[in-house]
Amino acid sequence: MAGYLELFWSFFKIGSFTLGGGFAMIPLMEKELVQKKQWLSKEEFLDILSLSQAMPGIFAVNMATCIGYRLRKITGATVSVLGNILMPILTIILLAMFFQYFRDNTIISHIFMGIRPCVVALIAAPVFTLAKNAGLCWQNCWIPLLSAALIWLFGVSPITIILIAGVGGFLYGRIKDRKEAEI
């Protein structure tokens, strides 16, 4: 049985030592929770992983919520999430306070002038790497093109796009089912 402190500590380690975002945590989580502590079976871990990816929210936090809940109910979920995000939050706060005073430093501002175009490229690249996984093809490529144009040129909120896409996907699936049933 996982103790609260043990649970907190496991997720604290996972959250504090992974660079590169939530998905980079998967191997570490598997090693710590499935292999070392044996709190979950591999199948359970994979089920929770696909659920955390599909549901709204931050992937790593969803993982911590589900695994914590599965092991020790609501308190377990709470300590796991806190463990997971504590170090990242404190690190960011320290850096935010630091940069507030050094942002106008000439060297730092030069460095950031180099970094900014890099960040824009790092946001642009996943559009293409994620496209394959999302199943993008000639029939549906109008969806991201139209969404991007509506947000970029007409100031439509991304949340509106998400709502329309969700409802659209639901209706499309239902209509396709009905047509297949008729045939």
Partner: protein, 193 residues
């Protein structure tokens, strides 16, 4: 009051966040920069850079930093900024957390539901557009310099953009490494000319 607005905005961002960290960057960019004008494009870009280089989920890092910056920009001192940082990260996880706790068993049992899968596959496609729009909205003279004002800076920016784009697309180079290298290039190029 900014704290209430921050709470509401990040609750909204949390529950509408499908499809990982980059989709969340798109949502935060839209709410913070375009809609509320709590920070400049430049400040937001810097926040993303720092968030990618520090440990933890990128969504949490961006939310924390954006919460801090929004409050400080509204004229409060750094300690209120710290409160804003905690508030933003708390709000962004609140609704998905409650949602998962309440529906955990149900969702695990029905994860192969046809309707849910249709919704998610449609969302995955639309989210590509969200991320593309965020990149386009960040490609401004603030971040790249302008050709008429400083052709050198504009040229360097475009070169960095293209090289990083290709390296991360074709070679799957580490974002942290690319940010560090771009920083070094910026420091050297702008420091000496």
């Amino acid at each position: 009051m900014i704290f209430w607005k921050l709470f509401y905005t990040f609750c909204k961002i949390g529950i509408f966040n499908f499809g990982g960290g980059y989709a969340m960057i798109a949502l935060i960019q839209n709410e913070m920069v375009e809609k509320q004008a709590w920070m400049t494009t430049q400040e937001f870009t810097d926040i993303v850079a720092v968030s990618q280089m520090t440990p933890g989920p990128i969504g949490i890092n961006v939310a924390t930093y954006a919460g801090y910056t929004a409050v400080v920009n509204a004229g409060y001192d750094a300690w209120w900024g710290v409160l804003g940082a905690f508030l933003a990260s708390f709000s962004v996880i609140l609704l998905p957390f409650l949602f998962l706790l309440i529906l955990f068993r149900f969702l695990l049992k029905h994860k192969d539901n046809k309707d849910l899968n249709n919704i998610f596959s449609s969302l995955r496609i639309a989210i590509l557009g969200l991320i593309a729009a965020a990149a386009l909205l960040l490609a401004t003279p603030d971040n790249f310099g302008s050709f008429s004002e400083s052709p050198v800076r504009f040229g360097v920016s475009i070169a960095i953009f293209l090289i990083v784009f290709l390296l991360s697309l074709k070679k799957k180079a580490s974002p942290i490494l690319l940010i560090l290298l771009s920083g070094v290039v910026g420091g050297i190029v702008y420091g000496f000319c």
